[in-house]
Structures are given as C-alpha cells and as structure tokens.
C-alpha cells in the first residue's frame, strides 16, 4: 500500500515549512560541524537518519496514519523552546528544539503507529547537535587529567621514567602536553553515537541495549588512554614528533578503529547470549 498523493503533498509541505522555520540555526550549526573536530560526525547524522527511515519504508506504508495529541504537545513545546532560545541568542536549545519539533510534527500529523517507527531515526538527529563548549569545558578537564594520570602510571609500568605535572608528561629527552583535544570527549561522542546505532539494530533485551550504549563511554576512555600511553612511549624513544602531524592523526584513527572493534565485539556477544 502506497502513501496517498494528498498525504504526500501535505507531508512535503509541512516538512518544507519546518525546514524554513528552523533554517536560521542551520548555517551556524554546519559551520560548527566543519570548524571543530569534535563535531565532524554531524555531517553523517542526517544521512544515517535518512537511511534508517528508508529502511523502515515498508513498515511505515503498512502502518495506519492517524493523529496524536501527544505529538501536538511535543511540537508546541519544541516551537516554544525554539522561539525562547532564538530570542535569547542561545544556539544549543534552539538546535535541540529543531529535532524535537520535527519529531512532534511527524507524531502529531501521522499518529502513534508512525511515531513509534520514526522515533529512533528522527531523534537520532540529536547527535548532530554539537555539545556546547561550556559543557565540554566542564567534563573535558577532569577527563584530561584522569587520562594523563593513568597514562603516566602505565608508562611507568613499562620502565620508562616519566614525571607528570598537571597535563604535562615529562620524559628524559622530551615532554608531551595532553591537550584538551586529547581528553577523549570526541571519541566518547562518536562511539556513543555508534553504540546507539548498534543498540537500535540489536535484537537483545532493553537492558542489554542500554549496556551497549553506556559501554561506549568506558571503551572510548580506555582507547584514549591507550593512545596517550602509546604516544608517550613512542615519544620517549623517537621524540615528540610522534605527537604531531600525520603520526598523531594516524594513531587517532587506529585507536578509534580499536574502540569500534571492541564495541562491535560487545554487540556480537550481547546478541549471541540472547540466542543461546
């Protein structure tokens, strides 16, 4: 069963209008995606969301289209938050409201059956909203310090003399600064996003899915500590050039792939146990 022509026109009109209303927050958000490596994954999120909706195409077409008053509540709340934050010149709540109002709009106009199917793909768009610098500032410093402390201990265990002062690691011939970008926040955000996709695809129980999402945080932190420790050990032998340029970027990719592999392993493990 296909979507009626009339419904297609109405949906297109509403979605087009929704985009026009929220367009003022889009250019700056895209600049944030491009301008800061913590937010680069923002470019992928809308594409992933579209793919997830496309996957559910048949399910949507066979579901009954209705209306939901709760959807109206979410839509009105989203629009009100948008107006308030737009008037207040604060970007983050306006961006969150953009996603919430889209979900509210679809839920309100297409009903609960469609709302249930669209909930994850649409709310997944929240991952495209850059975390405010003020929030990053609150968590990155303790994460940075913890990563430096643990890395220094691991390096010492490898019989390499190292002295830590704050976020600085001093070796015999060189020194390394564990900068804000090395706090692991970036890996936490991207692996949490991937953990959420894994949990969505999983057939496991809700508890196991939650474990999958939450596990992304310690996995990302561990991967980051391994990266700092590895960089420290290499810097001791080959100088601080290993912490700059291509080698630094390459180690970042390797460690991210490691985190992804661990997350994938966990996904397989949690799903397999369910079957057994």
């Amino acid at each position: 069963m296909g979507l009626a022509r009339n419904d297609k026109i109405k949906l297109t009109l509403l979605l087009g209008l929704w985009f026009l209303v929220f367009y003022p927050v889009v250019p700056e958000m895209v600049r944030d995606w491009a301008g800061h490596s913590d937010n680069n994954h923002g470019f992928l999120v809308p594409l992933i969301a579209l793919y997830l909706i496309w996957q559910k195409k048949d399910e949507l077409l066979s579901a009954e289209m209705d209306s939901s008053k709760w959807g109206a509540v979410v839509l009105v709340a989203g629009l009100a938050v948008f107006l308030l934050s737009f008037a207040g010149g604060v970007a983050f709540p306006a961006r969150v409201a953009m996603v919430l109002s889209l979900f509210g709009l679809l839920w309100f106009c297409t009903g609960s059956a469609w709302g249930r199917i669209l909930a994850f793909p649409v709310l997944f768009l929240l991952f495209m909203v850059p975390v405010p610098v003020s929030v990053i500032g609150l968590v990155s410093m303790p994460l940075q310090l913890m990563a430096t402390k643990l890395s220094a201990k691991l390096i010492e265990h490898c019989s390499i003399p190292v002295y830590r002062e704050g976020n600085m690691l001093f070796f015999v011939g060189t020194q390394l600064e564990v900068a804000e970008a090395c706090s692991g926040v970036r890996s936490i955000m991207s692996l949490t996003m991937l953990g959420t996709i894994f949990a969505y695809m999983s057939q496991a129980t809700w508890k196991r899915r939650v474990v999958m999402v939450l596990a992304a945080v310690p996995i990302a932190m561990t991967a980051n500590i391994i990266r700092i420790t590895g960089t420290g050990i290499l810097a001791h032998f080959f100088g601080d050039k290993v912490a700059r340029g291509f080698l630094h970027e390459f180690s970042g990719i390797i460690v991210f792939v490691f985190g992804l592999a661990v997350l994938g392993g966990l996904y397989k493990l949690l799903n397999r146990k369910k079957v057994a």
Partner: protein, 215 residues
C-alpha cells in the same frame, strides 16, 4: 493525514516562522562607552601599569574592550588583571578558558576549585581558582564571568543562563571574562590566594560603575 492536524501544524509553523522573523529584526545594541579604562589605577594599595597585547593576540581575543594591567604593591607583589569585554553583537562571551589555554601555553594545572569573594555590600560572589605551574613557579589565578555589570558566574553554563534571560528580557547579553593572577613560590601559594581574593573583592565592588554602556 487528518485535515485538522495538517492545518493546525501548518498554522503553528507559520506563526513560529513569523515570530522568529520579527525577532531577527530586533536591533542589536552597540557599545557606546567602553568605560572599563576608567577602572582605578590604584586598587587596595596596588598601583597599576597598563600593558597591551601584541596585535595577533588582540585579534584572537576579539574583545570589544580589554584591560590588561599589572598592579604592584609597595612591597613589590604584582597582581595581573585581565578583563575581556564582549558586547551583545559579539555574543557576550569569550571562547577561551584558562583550563585549555594554560596547558596550551605550557603551564600545568595542579589545582582547581572555587572560592567566595565578599564585597563591601556583604554579598558574596563565587569565582574559580586555578593553581598552575610552569618552570618551577606557581601562578594563582582567579577568574569569573560577569554579565550586565553585576551578575557573576563561576562557570560558563551559569553565564549562558544569565545571557539567555538578559537577552530575552532586555535584548542585551553583554559580558566579560575577568582574570586576576599572581605568581607565587612554592611556600607562598596560600598567601597568594588570599591576596588575589582580596583584590577580586575590591574589583567586584568597582566593576558595576565601570561597566560599558550599550545602546
């Protein structure tokens, strides 16, 4: 799709679009008097010398007005003061914070926390304390965010809330980042903390009168 929900959603979106368009046409206030330069050159027995950043630093800070002074006491103690003011057009805040800027400059942060500064009115303001270390010398640094001359926030999350309220109510969300620091040898960190806290209390008393004017 039900016609009633379609029409309701359409009306809601059109109304929101209309209101946001009207809001976008609100005039953005401009700084008409920077005033901060009028802060006394003598505070709490310390006499100031003006300092200026190189052009590259000035461009990077992108403040509407900055004050950078070294206040020296009669017995040779020096307190450095930096105030970076950002008008509403510049979003009222700086993107820099000492937690990332100090390590980038080669200093290690060895202690962080907050402290309360008591003003002459009896009111207290909570500000941040950082002890940083570089080349075997400590720096005790107090910093805070100030909005609309009188509202003090110890972290940028509180500052953002203050900015939101101020912008919605008064169409203004100007603010400043304020930093006071003193170098201290290993045994003198506690004493330096006391000095900068006392200096901050005096400065907090004076700032509302020297706050820039926007129209």
């Amino acid at each position: 799709m039900r016609n009633a929900s379609f029409v309701t959603a359409l009306i809601l979106l059109v109304l929101t679009g209309a209101v946001s368009s009207l809001l976008a046409y609100r005039p953005v206030p401009v700084v008409v008097a920077t005033n901060l330069e009028k802060l006394p050159m003598e505070i709490d027995g310390y006499r100031a010398v003006e300092d200026y950043f190189p052009e590259s630093v000035y461009r990077e800070l992108n403040a509407d007005k900055y004050v950078y002074r070294h206040y020296r006491s009669a017995d040779g103690r020096v307190i450095d003061l930096y105030i970076g003011y950002y008008g509403t057009a510049k979003g009222g805040r700086t993107g820099h914070n000492p937690y990332s800027c100090l390590p980038s400059a080669g200093s290690a942060i060895v202690e962080t926390g907050t402290t309360d500064c008591t003003m002459s009115t009896g009111k207290t303001a909570r500000v941040n304390v950082i002890v940083a270390r570089k080349d075997e010398l400590n720096t005790v640094l107090l910093h805070w965010y100030q909005t609309g001359g009188t509202t003090v926030a110890s972290n940028s999350l509180y500052q953002n809330l203050g900015r939101l309220v101020s912008r919605v109510m008064h169409n203004k969300d100007d603010g400043a980042y304020i930093q006071i620091s003193q170098a201290a040898a290993d045994g003198n960190v506690a004493q330096a903390k006391q000095h900068v806290r006392q200096f901050a209390s005096k400065l907090l008393d004076m700032l509302p009168a020297a706050w820039p004017v926007e129209q």
